[in-house]
Symmetry: C2
Subunit: 593 residues, 2 copies
């Protein structure tokens, strides 16, 4: 049985930055080669970054990606790294028309290629395209219909891309049909809570279906509103976890895999299940004798102990996701520092603590912006957070601006409350313009869901680190982060009083959140069912919740959703008159050619 | 040759409001029946409104639509309107799984049905799904594979939905294969400049391909960021325009069509081109003898003179689109009045003139918000506009607020300029909250494209009526609207000085737009090539433009696009942690069931 030394490069590509991503592929391939790897794999669309969204529709970007791929193959060889086959994802285009999708030849495809000895030796496109949730891949791509199989050091390695294993059949079944020794899957699989468990279960099931070892390499980091958690995995056909990368870190996973000798010589072009046809690529390389652990090195190699990184706790995982997402957004947007309005309340305190972990206290600028309704303790709590973390802190009162508005026009009730929030948003943007920090917004998911937030006020910001964190989880994370600091012998960042006092917007005298909203634990239970669970009002009541509370929450959510749609970001332009602005990812690296 | 009296109901459905749309179908069917119609057609998804975007993914909405359809059939019969077959678009679901699209049975479909004698006699789904530009239909729907053919009064009527005729083959070819006498197409085809010409040419070509008369019914009005121009058309197989509805108006087009007697009796289920299979529906009704124009009424009817509404001028068409879009946005969002910041410049003047035409002067509230840099003439020009149009006008100086900010923190240069714009945005939102008007944003496409605009400042607003209008077209429309008023013997709304003075943001002393931007005619020529034309820098230079100007414009657009992406609308929540918010249309009528 031959042994193949496989390297999975769990990296963080930047969308649009072909030069940087190429450099990274070379750098990580060099490390893999130094570790003796015989096959190296990078994530889905590692060369272009992922997701490229509507950038896929720019011909010049597709051509840029294709050119960069050929260049990369040459560069690896010129750097003495050409002997190891490298699997790398990129943005390509179809050779043939796809009549069922009404798309001509030359349409964009989510591709991967194998680079070897200076050449692109094979290319293929994702077969199953995800088109739900955050994915719109039928918009961007046409599917591929090949099963690429690489014969390397005597082993048949079938290749697949991400969604190919989330759907039944397709390349998984086809890999079994041709008797592959390894199914290697390159991925750009975004983080969701508890997705690591779901992913492991999936990978095990697909390994069993393919009847061979399955290697799964994922990306890490953040891109726009997505976070990638890594969690690359190798499992045997029997479901045994052979290796696993840590979560949320760039990592090179290298391991020796005992794999069956390629036996059957199928004809190239053979039609397999689901309309796939076989495309074989024969690479030079003799079957490798298995090195024995601890034995004298055979051919200069000792058998590697495969690493199985432990899973981190639920809170640690969420915290890492929040920190990764924030860091990626700030740095990929070309900023070094952030600006946060610090109220003394728990939301902005948590955002500041996340920012400190993401970009360092010296780069976190905070402003306390008291009004006539701000309590003494709010200002003290904000200052105490600054003292504990070492972030940059200043105080600017909004009282004079507030008085100027009230003197100019009659404002009462909600208009007066919202005004204070908007004066703070305006002050943050002014300081941001003056000093060059990117503004982070403090809103949590509970208050955004029910509309307890001011448009152009506390919603001001480029990125909302906790916009998908319910308020009850905000409290849990604040406590966890403090405990974590204590475990490390550090000062807990968040003042105890910030965690224990009753939440208040402080926009009118003696206001507390529970004036307007149910208790957060109750609210969040209903919200989770209504939003994530897509349960209707009746189903939630049937689950035992007070009908009056459910009706109230449902009404709040629907109204808030409606109002968010009423006031979209402000006018956008579009390429067609009256069309919608298309989604584009954040990248300042790519220009129309 | 039988004659069929056809009615095309060019209406404006409201997304999500099933009850209202059902009422409208009944009301318009009654009118059609009173006009003697023997077949009535409504636009694509008229029952749900169009586009429903991600509402399609809510099961409860799909079931709501299906239930409303059955109810509507019963109601038409109960109201004595059951004898006429009614073709109406709705949101349905698939009976079978669609493996090629990885979608199970029960997936949403863009459907139409025929209602007759209290029953839904046939249902079918759009065959070709558009998935480009503003369309994402592979996200929402799975395609249908039937060719529905209705035998009514001796004529075989093949049915199709919108994109079915924008793609080659499919139902057009299939209609010819079965020898249809009429191809009836229901549409939700959004307005673009000059699309009426493009549409007519398409309809003529498809009629020739189908070898029969083609009737095309479109919707009017506006929904979110789309505008629908109506322009329903009937053409003969020889390309002759037999009838055409006016643009941008609800309209019932009724005409008598001489159509071939259905001859061939094809087997139900027959496999036709492009994988379509025939589904026949036989409705009672004898072939109708042709009434002769002016002759004594045969069977109580006189032949109708078909109406061919004339096309309106280019400027009138654009103006109607801007007014329709604005009116729809305001009213479909449940507002009666709008609020606009009036600077005295041409952009806000044009927006105010559009708003006056859309919702009436009494519902247009404007505020002049001078700062220390505002010129005397700006205030005068704003007041003059108010005087000419009769809109509601007030003045609130932002000088005290500006001074309060400058006293609190150091702000210079761009930070100081943006501050003034944001103070105005905050004031507009405060008045909006206090008085209940919806805010319109004044930005034009040229300045938005190059980023000559302030986030949370002049970009504040729910809707930007001229966000897709280049500045040179802003001038042209202002002149056209004034001339149009003169032609009607009315006061031209826009003060002459507003049109003739050099454009200025007035955010610093003696500022004019040309300090920062090329002359607008030149700028707009480059922008149109770069944005709409998707031409690269080199192609634009090759077309004869100054390379320095092209480089500058390209850099401005790329930077602006990048910055718009940096600061999205502010934090959104999503149903999946870290997922993107999905698009939902504006509707306050539909709640999760």
């Amino acid at each position: 049985m031959p042994t193949l030394r496989l390297a999975l490069s769990q990296i963080d590509p930047w969308v649009g930055d072909l030069a940087r991503n190429s450099d990274e592929v070379v750098r990580w391939t060099r490390q893999a080669v130094e570790a003796g790897a015989q096959l190296v794999a990078f994530p889905e669309m590692a060369l272009t970054g992922y997701p490229v969204e509507d950038l896929a529709l720019r011909r010049s970007f597709v051509e840029g990606s294709r050119g960069a791929l050929v260049e990369l193959a040459g560069r690896l060889a010129a750097d003495g790294l050409g002997e190891v086959p490298v699997v790398v994802g990129y943005l390509g285009r179809s050779e043939h028309a796809s009549p069922r999708f009404n798309r001509p030849a030359g349409s964009p495809q989510n591709c991967a290629a194998v680079l070897h000895r200076g050449e692109v030796v094979t290319r293929f496109a994702k077969h199953h395209l995800p088109n739900y949730g955050v994915f719109d891949e039928f918009r961007w791509f046409v599917p591929g219909d090949q099963l690429p199989v690489l014969r390397v050091h005597g082993v048949d390695v079938a290749l697949a891309i991400c969604e190919d294993i989330w759907q039944d059949g397709g390349r998984v079944t086809a890999a079994r049909e041709i008797g592959a020794g390894l199914l290697l899957v390159v991925n750009g699989s975004p983080y969701e809570r508890n997705k690591d468990d779901q992913r492991l279960e999936l990978v095990r099931r697909r390994a069993a279906e393919a009847g061979c070892t399955l290697a799964y390499v994922n990306m890490v980091g953040g891109q726009d509103e997505l976070v990638f958690d890594g969690d690359s995995i190798v499992v045997g056909a029997d479901g045994e976890v052979l290796a696993r990368s840590p979560q949320f870190e760039e990592h090179l996973l290298v391991l020796d895999l005992d794999l069956p000798t390629a036996g059957r010589d199928h004809t190239d072009g053979l039609l397999l299940s689901d309309g796939l046809h076989l495309v074989r690529t024969e690479l030079d390389g003799e079957p490798q004798a298995a090195p024995v652990m601890g034995a004298p090195p055979a051919e200069g190699r000792e058998r590697l102990t495969a690493e199985v990184a432990p899973r981190i706790s639920d809170e640690a995982e969420i915290w890492a996701a929040l920190v990764s997402g924030t860091r990626a957004y700030v740095t990929k947007n070309g900023f070094e520092s952030v600006l946060i309005g610090l109220s003394g309340g728990i939301d902005s305190a948590l955002v500041a603590a996340i920012a400190v972990d993401a970009v360092g206290a010296a780069n976190v600028h905070c402003v306390s912006m008291p009004s006539r309704y701000s309590s003494r303790h709010s200002r003290d709590d904000a200052a105490e957070l600054a003292r504990r973390t070492g972030l940059r802190f200043r105080t600017v009162s909004i009282a004079p601006m507030f008085d100027a508005y009230l003197g100019a026009t009659e404002l009462t009730g909600l208009a007066e409350e919202n005004l204070q929030s908007r004066l703070r948003g305006t002050l943050l943007m002014a300081i941001s313009n003056q000093e060059g920090h990117i503004v982070l917004a403090p809103g949590n998911k509970s208050e955004l869901a029910v509309g307890y937030s001011t448009l152009y006020g506390d919603s001001v910001g480029a990125y909302g680190p906790i916009k998908d964190v319910y308020k009850s989880l905000v409290f849990r994370l604040a406590r966890w982060r403090n405990e974590e600091a204590e475990r490390r012998g550090e000062v807990p960042p968040i003042p105890e009083h910030t965690i224990t006092k009753p939440p208040s917007a402080e926009l009118r005298p003696d206001q507390v959140d529970t004036d307007s909203l149910p208790d957060y634990d109750l609210l969040d239970s209903v919200l989770a069912r209504y939003i994530e669970g897509d349960e209707g009002r009746d189903a939630i009541v049937a689950a035992g919740f007070d009908p009056a509370v459910v009706d109230r929450v449902v009404r709040l959510v629907d109204t808030a959703e409606y109002k968010r749609r009423q006031y979209p970001p402000g006018p956008k332009i579009s390429v067609k008159n009256f069309g919608r602005d298309r989604r584009l990812p954040i990248t300042n690296r790519w220009r129309r050619g």
